[in-house]
Every structure is written in C-alpha cells, then in structure tokens.
C-alpha cells in the first residue's frame, strides 16, 4: 500500500469532511467514523477522482467504505 496514496487520501478526506488528520486512519469508515452522509460520500469520491485522475464508476463506489479501502482501490486503479 503506497504511503504517498494514503497521504493524499488523508489530505482530501480532511478537506472534504472537515475532520482532523489524526482521525483519518486506515480502519476509519467514512460514514461510521468520519461523519459522512450519503451526499458527502459522493462528493468525496469525486474529490478522489480529481486528485488521482481516475474514474470511479458508481457500481464500484460500494467497495470504498474505509480509508484503507480507498487507498487499496486507488492503488489498483491508478495509472503507473
């Protein structure tokens, strides 16, 4: 798992959800732990798309529940 990707996911999450950096740990769930509602999740996914230059199709958004899920998903998708 790329440390750089985790850092960038953390930065985007802090910005989008207005949470503290130390809360954004790999096990943290966006909805359960970081206070995101369904609209926040859509907005967050768009911010990941912009940050990493990738497309995240609607039917794959369900795979991204935690910070760690986001890092894994993005690492898989990201152009080398």
């Amino acid at each position: 798992m790329s440390a750089d990707t985790l850092e960038r996911v953390r930065k985007v999450t802090v910005e989008e959800l207005g949470v503290k950096e130390e809360e954004v740990v790999e096990s943290a769930s966006f909805t359960e732990d970081l206070g995101a509602d369904s609209l926040d999740v859509v907005e967050l996914v768009m911010a990941f798309e912009d940050e990493f230059g990738i497309d995240i199709p609607d039917d794959e958004v369900g795979e991204i529940k935690t910070v760690g899920d986001a890092v894994t998903y993005i690492s898989k998708k990201k152009p080398a």
């Binding site: 959800l17 207005g18 206070g35 369904s38 609209l39 926040d40 859509v42 907005e43 768009m46 497309d55």
Partner: protein
C-alpha cells in the same frame, strides 16, 4: 404545546441578526448606517474587468467558519451561510429558551430572491468541462432558495411551519409579512423570518449588467448609489441577510422578552405590467401602501418615517415618489423618506428584511438614517429624502416599501416597542 396560548393577534419582534455590506452584526451595521457610510467598492468576489458594472456592496468581514462547522463552511453557498449567521444572532439576541415543546411551535421563513447562484455557476462549469458525473450532489440542495429556511431549521431543530417566499427584491418584506400572518392566525408561536442573498458572481453580475438596471459609475463607487438624486443611473448590487425572531405578543410579554417593535400592517399588490420595469403610474406600489395602512388600521399621517425601496434607478425612484404622494396625499411632503440602499446597495431578496430592521432601530433610537449622495434635486422626486445626514426624530410607526421584478409590491408597517 400542552398549554398552547390563544393567539393575541399581535406579533412582536424580539431578536434581530444581520450580515450586511456595512458589517456582520447589528450594532456595527447600525452605527455605520447612521454615520452615512457607503459600502460600495470595486468588486473583489470575481474579476469584474469585463463587465459594464464593476462595483458592488460586498460583505467584507464575514467568516463562514465562525457560524458553521468546517465541512459545511467550506462548500455551502454564501446565501445559506449568511442566513445561518443572521438567524443565530437573532435567536441569541431574543434570549429565547428553545425547549423541545417550543421547537414544534417555532417556524422558519427566510426567503431568497435567487438562491445559490454561485454554487450553480460553479457546478455548471464542472459539468461543461467534465461531464455530468462531475456535478456535485450538493448542487440541488445548495441552489434551491428554500434551503436557507431548511438549513436554519436543522441547525436549531425548529419544527414549526417551514417555508420560503421568492418574490425577487420584495422577498425579505414578504417573508416578514407572511411570518406575521402565520403567527397572527396561530399556526406558530414563534418564527425566524427574513431574507438572504449572495448574487455577486459571474452569472448574477452578467445578468444584471445585460438587463441594464445597474449603475456604471465605476470610477466613483461611493457616489454610485444615489437614490432620488437627479443624476442617478441605476442600482448597485449588494449582498447580505437580516433575520428576525418574531413571536406572539402575549407570549413574548409573558416570558419577559425585550420587544423591539411589532409588525402591524402588511400590504401587497401586483403590477401586472412588465417583467422588469415598474408600472410608470406606480399603481401597484400605491395599492400595496394603501393596503398596509388599511390592515394596520391607521391614518396616513400617523406614519413618521418611510424606508423607501429607493433603488437609484430612474423609474423606481420616480414611480415610488408618485406612489407615496398618492397614498399619503398632502401628508407626503411632511413624512421623512430615506433610501438606505444609498449606503449598502440593493441586497435584492434580503433588502426588505434589512430595511425593516432599519425601521425598527430608527424608532428605537429616535434616529432616521439618511439618503446619502443626494446632491441634485430631481423635480420628479420632490419629497423629504433626509439628505446626506441622519436626523433625530421620535417616530412610533414606520413604513418599509419593497418592489420586485415580476411586479411584486409590498409595504410593511412597523410599530415601535412600547
């Protein structure tokens, strides 16, 4: 409520909040209004160099994080943030204790003439550049004009009547008038009511420039808004919000609330003439004032101050002067009239609420705000406009006029607190 009071038929204003181009917070705003300051400057919210009008009355000291949580403050449309701030100030000022029981009797009616146009513009750009999947899920909730009411109700868990009025530049006045009716007929005991607007963005400025309703006195911003002056050449766009806590008079008395004043009359009439131009005979404006006087049950000569719509356009100021003369007859020349838009520009859907606030403060302090930049009399505008300097006067009843695109004409009558 278990001991739901019988409506007294009277409606008190017990708390006030404001976000204005002359400051965030009522005291700062009011002292600068009485000092006759202009808030009009070159636009900073966007690069105005390609627009025919490059000046506006912007709110300069507003920090959304002071009023909203970080996540919302960063992204929410400015018109909702202004309303949330003004509402919080008003609740605090009223000293009201929000219990779960009272919350069910506490409604919200904060209108906006336009809604979240800034957010709409940004998301439209995202869609054009990146396709539909780039449009924020917050576009719809942050754009719709009723979200000021909705959002404020969520912040304070107010569960009474929750609604919105959209009547362009008459919005704020209609909101206060409609809230007055809601309380008077007993559908709520308390209401947060007012208006909010944040129209200074690319689309808003472009639209108003093309409509040719705004001044182009770009090199003299402080002198640009000059209602009733012969050399007026259009309005200055502004932004802001004002919100009142309004409540049943007996309920307010019983809880020992400070009472700023009362809403006692509300008149409205349509022009049925043109989408943007006022009726040259100002018949709708006249009939709105006549209806306000009738519903208040007072004689024209009892009004001691009129806060004019006074936009600084040729047609409005001429027509409004005619309407006042028709509604007040010979008394018209004896009633001081001022346009505070000379200082804070035209805040569109917030204007009626900000101007009702000015009436209430003017009566409380016995000080009538001026019309600044009044230099050259216009024979078609020949009333006493309180030129340039505030005036001491004890007034117990004021009228506030507001007129909007679409031909909406509203007059409110406000009474000084006893």
């Amino acid at each position: 409520m278990s001991d739901r009071p019988v409506p007294s038929g009277r409606v008190a204003i017990t708390g006030v909040g404001a976000v204005t181009p002359l400051g965030t917070g009522v005291d700062k705003f009011w002292s600068r209004i009485l000092a006759g300051e202009s808030a009009v400057e070159r636009i900073t919210l966007l690069d105005p160099s390609e627009y025919s009008t490059q000046i506006a009355a912007e709110v300069k000291d507003f920090v959304a994080e002071d009023w909203l949580d970080k996540k919302e403050a960063r992204r929410i449309d400015r018109f909702i943030a202004f309303a949330a701030a003004a509402a919080q100030m008003a609740i605090q000022d009223s000293g009201i204790q929000l219990t779960d029981e009272l919350r069910e009797e506490f409604g919200v009616l904060i209108g906006s003439g336009i809604g979240g146009l800034t957010f709409l513009g940004e998301q439209h750009r995202r869609q054009i550049e990146g396709g539909p999947s780039k449009v924020s899920p917050f576009l719809v909730p942050y754009m719709i004009p009723d979200m000021a009411s909705g959002y404020v109700s969520i912040l304070h868990r107010l569960k009474g009547p929750n609604t919105c009025v959209v009547t362009a530049c008459a919005t704020g006045a209609n909101a206060i008038g409609d809230a007055y009716h809601i309380i008077k007929r007993g559908d709520a005991i308390c209401m947060l009511a007012g208006g909010s607007e944040a129209p200074i963005n690319e689309l808003g400025l472009g639209g108003f420039c093309s409509a040719r309703a705004m001044t182009t006195r770009n090199d003299e911003p402080h002198r640009a808004s000059r209602p009733f002056d012969k050399d007026r050449d259009g309005f200055v766009i502004g932004e802001g919000s004002a919100v009142f806590v309004m409540e049943d008079y007996d309920f307010a008395k019983k809880r020992g609330a400070k009472i700023y004043g009362e809403v006692v009359g509300y008149g409205m009439a349509g022009d049925a003439y043109h989408i943007t131009q006022p009726d040259p005979e100002a018949d709708g404006a006249y009939r709105a004032s006549r209806m306000a006087l009738r519903t208040a049950g007072i004689r024209p000569e009892e009004i001691g101050y009129i806060n004019a719509h006074g936009t600084s356009t040729y047609y409005n100021d001429k027509g409004e002067t005619q309407a006042i003369k028709r509604a007040f007859g010979d008394q018209a020349y004896k009633i001081p009239v001022s346009s505070t838009k000379s200082m804070i520009g035209h805040t569109l859907g917030a204007a009626g609420a900000i101007e009702a606030l000015i009436c209430i403060l003017a009566m409380r302090d016995g000080k009538l705000p001026p019309t600044i930049n009044y230099e050259t009399p216009d024979p078609e505008c020949d009333l006493d406009y309180i030129p340039n300097v505030a005036r001491d006067a004890q007034v117990s009843l004021s009228m506030s006029n507001s007129y909007g695109f679409g031909g909406h004409n509203v007059s409110l009558i406000l009474k000084r607190g006893e």
